[in-house]
Symmetry: C2
Subunit: 375 residues, 2 copies
């Protein structure tokens, strides 16, 4: 497997075609294949418009192959990756590309997703994305005594990692005081506890194992792929736990015949600090309610027992919605190959990616994708 990514950031002057083309060419180069080897492409976007895959592949001169464009809100990247993996794993094709791309600074639709949907009760009550997660944080503080300092530490950690990643939107370390004193978005979530709007693209090349062995002696392998939707908000029994993430992770662990204790590094969905705390628990890194203690322990920092979001995560690397899930896979491939530079997790052998989409008002039941990689 090979990965490619643009730098994430705000690039209103760059089109989706240009961003996507750069990522695809980088992934092809990283994998050591040629453009004409590509037999299938799956491309995820939320805001990039119609036939995004066709438009990007035209940019790089790949024609005539099967192209599937997918959308699954923030989980689109994991969906695209799974599409390509399925094609290769079931023998339909030998070489496939998965791509995710967004130009969020130029899309007139970005505001629409953040506006509360007018034809939905929760929307009418103002349940926008940050408010949704602020309420979950409040509940967590009440139930488990999670502190503002613990939440701030998530942002501090991920910005420390992001500062080491050349692909990151923000390459600046922050203190907990800076995080907590930044502008209030929705109490208790401050600006620096929320991911930014981001433009960017990421791509991954997958090969059948008999092809991969032509290029490398020890290829990265896909040990598990799980994608599922969840239950409706009004049926959630617990506002501090993502049941769909828990179920997808369990499914992936079973398929990979491993558990959370076997993981060396993790890229997980941290659009808000509270999310990372919650996902520590639903992915099984610690007991329910213990997420705050886990970040305090330093275990999830680079050099810790189980580094989480060594790339900088959504908070620091940025979050071009559909590109995120693919970028997580590219990061994992680089970590397992030992080429992740200053943010390398020493000796990483097993990596997990986790991304969640659309489980807020109006897009209920959403999608969650979990993948496990081994070398």
């Amino acid at each position: 497997m090979g990965g490619g990514s643009t730098v994430f950031g705000k690039f209103p002057e760059r089109s989706c075609e240009e961003l996507g083309g750069e990522a695809v060419l980088a992934a092809i180069e990283d994998a050591g294949i040629r453009r004409k080897d590509v037999q299938f492409a799956s491309c995820a976007t939320v805001f990039g418009g119609y036939c995004i895959g066709q438009r990007v592949l035209k940019e790089v001169g790949i024609t005539g192959v099967e192209i599937v464009n997918v959308e699954n809100a923030c989980a689109g990247g994991a969906t695209a990756f799974r599409e390509s993996w399925l094609r290769v794993a079931t023998g339909q094709y030998d070489v496939a590309v998965a791509l995710g791309v967004e130009s969020m600074t130029t899309s007139p639709m970005v505001g629409k997703l953040i506006e509360p949907p007018a034809d939905d009760l929760e929307g009418q009550m103002g349940l926008t994305v940050p408010i949704f997660f602020a309420l979950m944080m409040k509940r967590r503080m009440h139930e488990f005594g999670t502190t503002l300092q613990q939440a701030a530490q998530i942002s501090v950690k991920n910005h420390r990692h992001g500062a080491l990643n050349p692909y990151s939107q923000y390459k600046k370390e922050l203190t907990a005081e800076e995080v907590l004193n930044s502008r209030m978005i929705c109490e208790p979530l401050t600006l620096l506890q929320c991911c930014p709007n981001t433009d960017g693209a990421a791509a991954v090349v997958l090969c059948a194992s008999h092809i991969a062995k032509r290029y490398v002696s020890k290829p990265v392998t896909v040990a598990a792929s799980a994608l599922r939707s969840g239950d409706y908000l009004y049926r959630w029994k617990d506002a501090t736990f993502s049941d769909m993430s828990h179920k997808a992770a369990r499914q992936a662990y079973e398929m990979a015949a491993c558990g959370p204790e076997d993981l060396d590094c993790i890229e997980l969905h941290d659009p808000f600090t509270i999310c990372e705390l919650m996902h520590y628990e639903d992915l099984g890194l610690c007991e329910k309610g213990e997420g705050g203690k886990l970040i305090e322990s330093g275990a999830t920092l680079l050099g810790g027992k189980i580094p989480v979001n060594p790339s900088g995560g959504l908070l620091s690397k940025g979050h071009p919605l559909s590109a995120t899930g693919v970028a997580q896979v590219a990061e994992s491939v680089w970590q397992l190959r030992g080429v992740a530079g200053q943010r390398q997790v020493a000796g990483a052998r097993v990596a997990l990616t986790h991304v969640v989409g659309g489980y807020v008002a109006g897009l209920e039941s959403g999608a969650v994708g979990v993948h496990i990689f081994k070398i």
Copy 2:
């Protein structure tokens, strides 16, 4: 396999969720399964917005399953069907739903697709969708002597079929004079040679063969599935032939071990009269340039040697973009089961569906899906 569809038409008061939900429930009933049997859903839309599959499945109370939302312009329905077929054919799941849905009368984006793209040379020159096909028709008239009467006969035939189909947007027969005397859209294409804007949804249920045999002694089987993109407009060597349709059809015939001579009925992509004439040739029903003679012969009319678009096609049944490819599959399933009512093709055993998307200015290289079904 079971199929379900809403009536196609203009229903600005009905949401995508409502349209899609009606189609899914109808397909589930037609297949004789229960809602809880569904393990996977693929949902296609161009205009329906984010997480369309999640929103429709919520409407009918299906939760927790894997959902993939796809987009491939007008070929989205074939893409969704292929997604679900792949899942079942490769043993990932036993029961899958494929869905396509559009509310074109309410989407503010419909006009955008028909507007020439401003950042594209062909767009700046005014190459909108009807103009593109009008130019192809002109070329065909020049090269093969195709006549206006022959083109009009396509519309007459499909409206005659559509008048027999309760799901059709237009249930009224037309004369060639009415077709040719209707308002000029782009010379030589008149209004009644162009498909309408349509709201609607269609769904199909697929089961693994060991499951299907619990319900029917002789199930409809998927004999071939092909999906590919084409080459860029500027590389087309022949404006009277769809090379990508030809290649996809050849791929499907090979997979199904049959040829055009084995087909009993066909649902093909007729957004404009000229398209059906062209696809007669690229699907191999007749020699290149002979499409005009084929329609004149009456062979493609119900009761003829190889009825084409017994449903009424896009011209009469209507064209809710992503729903079309799924509706074609539902129609084929009904034809093969012998339950297509007044539009039944007597003794149909082999059916082919063909849909093309996005090969006009701005969305170049597009997608074409061809499927073959047998009973």
